[in-house]
């Protein structure tokens, strides 16, 4: 019995030591679902010996909530969208990358090197960028789809067959474009009109769902789906006869960014991973998988040639402008929250 105890204690000590050794070669990533190909992580591990653990989330807001509710100090890197980078910076959740810490920082494409949401790229690097609009099943409807009316005031054929993203930011931004009002409007009449318009549009919607935005189009559960461009392309490749729209009123543009979190337990490894993702070949592998766009120069050679020709990547001549989601102040946001609750009550 005594021997057994000693043996198990020794085993325990050994395994603790083994864990400690492994901890030196670790990286903990907090990332969107279905957004990182395993091959890229495997390649990173093969090159550096660093083991990558990845947890996933389905919205910028739930990521923020997890980090604020005690997730800080657990994760090294997260991948927030544009507006969320400024929110996280404002909340003090981001660490600053000093000059020279990233060897490949110069690879960032010039147009993405100094974005408004992270001036000078103090804490982030580009991951992917693209657009959010909607896709329409062409078997269900053959008319003009280049208008936001498809979502908010649809023709009879499409009424009751629309899936919206379950995301306040994206729905509100699209609704503002539809009404032609600013995103963080403080004008009472505009806000009342926005509230009334959404209340009226809801009768045409079948569901709110983000994680299955693609599946409902492929399965035919929805004939119209608010969706990201890369997801629309995937739905099309999976056999759905869908066309991605670039409405004349405009559409939502976005960029996801890899950010260095404050109190990152493996800060050096996180920087290595950022450098790794700034290598054109590696980020191109992500783009080939996710089917969006990289913000790194020199990726063109590594991209799947079919990607550039995709209809989802090429807005037509009459398309409106792509706009980023704006960050409202607390007072204005309270009204938008109220409108959102009214919509889903």
């Amino acid at each position: 019995m005594k021997n057994l105890l000693i043996a198990s204690a020794a085993t325990l000590a050994l395994s603790v030591a083994a864990n400690a050794a492994a901890a030196e070669g670790k990286l903990v990533l907090y990332h969107w679902f279905e957004y990182m190909p395993q091959e890229v992580l495997d390649k990173f591990t093969a090159e550096t010996g660093i083991e990558v653990t990845m947890d996933t989330y389905d919205s910028n807001e739930s990521m923020l909530a997890t980090l604020k509710a005690g997730g800080m100090g657990t994760y090294d890197l997260a991948v927030p969208g544009d507006y969320m980078v400024s929110i996280m910076a404002g909340e003090g959740l981001l660490d600053t990358i000093a000059d020279g810490e990233l060897a490949n920082k110069g690879n960032i494409a010039p147009e993405w090197a100094d974005p408004s949401f992270d001036p000078g790229r103090a804490s982030s690097i580009p991951y992917q960028w693209g657009s959010t609009s909607f896709a329409v099943n062409r078997d269900a409807y053959s008319g003009d789809i280049q208008t936001t009316d498809i979502l908010f005031n649809p023709p009879a054929e499409l009424s009751g067959k629309i899936n919206m993203l379950d995301s306040q930011g994206e729905v509100m931004a699209m609704a503002s474009l539809h009404l032609g009002i600013p995103q963080c409007s403080a004008d009472r009449e505009q806000l009342k009109a926005l509230n009334a318009m959404l209340q009226d549009a809801k009768q045409h919607w079948a569901s709110f769902n983000s994680d299955t935005a693609k599946e409902v189009l492929v399965s035919g559960d929805a004939a119209v789906g608010q969706i990201y461009d890369g997801f629309a392309a995937k739905a099309r490749e999976e056999g759905a006869n869908v066309e991605y729209a670039y409405p004349t009123q405009g559409y939502v543009a976005w960029m996801d960014n890899v950010v260095l979190l404050k109190d990152a337990p493996n800060r050096d490894n996180a920087l290595k991973f950022m450098d790794f993702l700034l290598e054109p070949e590696n980020i191109a592998a992500v783009t080939n998988y996710a089917q969006y766009n990289a913000g790194v120069t020199g990726v063109a050679d590594f991209l799947d040639p079919a990607l550039a020709a995709q209809p989802e990547k090429n807005p037509h001549a009459d398309a409106g402008d792509g706009v980023f989601i704006e960050v409202c102040d607390q007072e204005t946001q309270a009204v938008y929250d109220q409108i959102w609750t009214n919509l889903k009550k």
Binding site: S59, K68, K192, S207, S219, G220, A334, Q338, K344
Partner: protein
């Protein structure tokens, strides 16, 4: 649960007279850490000031309860009137959970009765079969349910194939789909306690009733049901309570178009709104309601026991 543990232990209490106090420590610790602690935290948070984008500021505030009960208009500056939004959401949840409970009872009771009337050696096999689907994660089961029910799914294909209907029935994204989902999620919670009660039932009582010319229906109503009532009540509570707070079925099968309590609370912590005190306040109100229901049923039970005794 705590009461059950205490009464079960009392038989042996004399043996452990001196040690009783500290032997109970683990159960007190479990209760404290996993029940009292979180509930107290929720209670405190519900009276704090919300921090923009999630989190709390440690200042006393009644804002969360005010928001729940009073409507001050879109811009928050109108004179307060009664807020129906959240009452509607609560009422919807009660209705959905109630329908799911009734459905579970209608299907679960005959199932439990069937199992309990099988020969003793095959009963465990039936119970085992009931539990098999529940080894799979709830999320996956709910998604599978959606696949089965949707317009182009096997159910509609089958009904169209047999010529019963011409065009698919829309089930997904309706209230009925939510009720079905909740029913399916929590069915074993109905079957198992009812089965336990029916198994203990002495079937010679039914024979005696038959000898005295009671019809089968009368026997079920006057003899069997009163005897297995504790199991039925336990089953109803076990299905009703988690159904009220559920958010998977409403989100996936109901299309998340209308909040249920569970999704409303989830949104306060995970969504854009990020209003923790309000989420905590809604949880406290839910908890209070559930406690009232449980106390009411416990009193009914006590009354019934008294009249029997």
């Amino acid at each position: 649960m705590a009461a059950g543990a205490a009464s079960g232990g009392s038989a042996r209490a004399d043996t452990y007279k001196d040690a009783r106090g500290w032997l109970l420590l683990p159960s007190w610790a479990v209760l404290g850490i996993f029940v009292l602690g979180p509930v107290c935290m929720m209670l405190i948070y519900s009276f704090l000031t919300k921090e923009f984008r999630g989190g709390v500021i440690w200042e006393f505030s009644l804002a969360a309860y005010d928001q729940f009960f009073f409507d001050r208009g879109l811009f928050g500056d109108e004179p307060p009137s009664i807020e129906w939004t959240y009452i509607t959401i609560f009422w919807r949840s009660i209705w959905q959970a109630g329908a799911a409970t009734l459905l579970s009872l209608l299907i679960g009771f005959p199932t439990a009765y069937f199992i309990a009337t099988r020969p003793e050696n095959v009963r465990p096999v039936w119970v085992f079969l009931i539990t098999i689907p529940y080894w799979v994660n709830l999320l996956i089961r709910t998604v599978s349910m959606k696949f089965l029910l949707r317009d182009q799914g096997p159910l509609n294909d089958f009904l169209i194939g047999t010529g019963l209907i011409d065009s698919p029935i829309h089930i997904v994204n309706t209230n009925f789909a939510v009720q079905l989902g909740l029913f399916y999620s929590y069915l074993p919670f109905m079957v198992l306690p009812v089965y336990a009660a029916v198994e203990r039932y002495n079937f010679s009582l039914s024979e005696a009733a038959a000898d005295l010319y009671a019809s089968k229906w009368t026997t079920l109503r006057r003899i069997v049901l009163p005897a297995v009532k504790p199991g039925v009540v336990a089953g109803c509570i076990l299905v009703f309570v988690p159904s009220m707070g559920s958010f998977l079925a409403p989100d996936l099968l109901g299309g998340a178009k209308n909040f249920m309590i569970g999704s409303l609370i989830e949104e306060q912590f995970k969504g854009n709104a990020g209003n923790w005190p309000f989420g905590a306040a809604a949880s406290m109100i839910l908890l209070t309601m559930v406690l009232i229901i449980l106390m009411f049923s416990a009193r009914q039970q006590a009354k019934a026991d008294k009249t029997e005794g």
